[in-house]
């Protein structure tokens, strides 16, 4: 199934580069509406399996370990990567604390006075979303919690339908919660590490 996703993605990127601007602009704009329709379908699944809310309530505050793990892992990854590239560690952490929210993280870094870092952050978080599309089907087969990890902030919108399809209703709800918290964390984390 990852293969089908890869094909759809590559075809899309190719189409975006070569088809007339009017068409690509239309498809690009329609993706946000398609996402809303998909999220409606995801909501139906959550409503049908309402018993999972009881299980999630039983987990209590422990569900916070998922977004916490996503944030800590992303920051640590950024620091390690910056050390490997012999670059600025704080800048590296600022890049990965975008958590996949590329439209915001690049702008935040640019506004904080680091346009070069902002460009890398933007691109890097685009890559993160692409990786998520490819990894979720593979990870979900082994461990559904871990499948949420790559999604970061996108777990509440663009990658939620994917997570819902490849895991179960309970995991989809955990993913959504994690995505919301990550989304709230990005505008705090990125400027914090841009000093």
């Amino acid at each position: 199934m990852s293969k089908a996703i890869l094909i759809a993605l590559v075809l899309g990127i190719g189409a975006g580069m070569y088809i007339p601007e009017i068409w690509s602009a239309f498809l690009d704009a329609s993706s946000s509406y398609m996402l809303l329709i998909l999220l409606f379908c995801v909501g139906i699944d959550m409503g049908v399996h309402r018993e999972v809310f009881v299980q999630i309530r039983r987990m209590g505050l422990r569900i916070l370990v998922i977004p916490l793990g996503v944030v800590l892992g992303s920051l640590a990854g950024g620091a390690l990567c910056a050390m490997l590239l012999q670059g600025d560690v704080m800048e590296g952490i600022a890049i990965t604390s975008g958590l996949g929210w590329y439209s915001l993280s690049g702008i935040l870094m640019t506004e904080a006075g680091n346009p070069a870092g902002g460009a890398i952050s933007f691109l890097s978080n685009v890559f993160r979303e692409v990786f998520t599309f490819l990894l979720v089907p593979i990870l979900a087969r082994r461990n559904v919690y871990v499948a949420i990890a790559p999604a970061g902030a996108t777990a509440m919108d663009t990658t939620l339908p994917l997570l819902s399809k490849y895991t179960d209703s309970q995991t989809a709800i955990l993913a959504f919660i994690s995505g919301v918290l990550c989304t709230l964390a990005v505008p705090v984390l990125v400027p914090f590490f841009c000093i």
Partner: protein, 93 residues
Amino acid sequence: MWKIFLVLGLGFLVGFSGQLTEKGLRINARLQTVWLMLLIFCMGVGIGRNQEIIQALPSLGGKAFLFALFAVAGSIAVVFLLTKLFLPKGGTK
């Protein structure tokens, strides 16, 4: 962001109402697969037509790729550890 909560909530109410038949749910699942592929295609279009991404790719692509790789690997590792320690076995699908 409110739109996301709105459509999820609306869908939830439809599912919760129990009005959908077994067949309706199967159609819902199949529809989701098709929509998902279309959505991923359209998101690809969004990336491909974005000159900012395409122009920055040759010079910054390698670095950006590595940072994304490390962020994803780090997230997977820490989430794996923490959920093993604190959450009931989620198991696999």
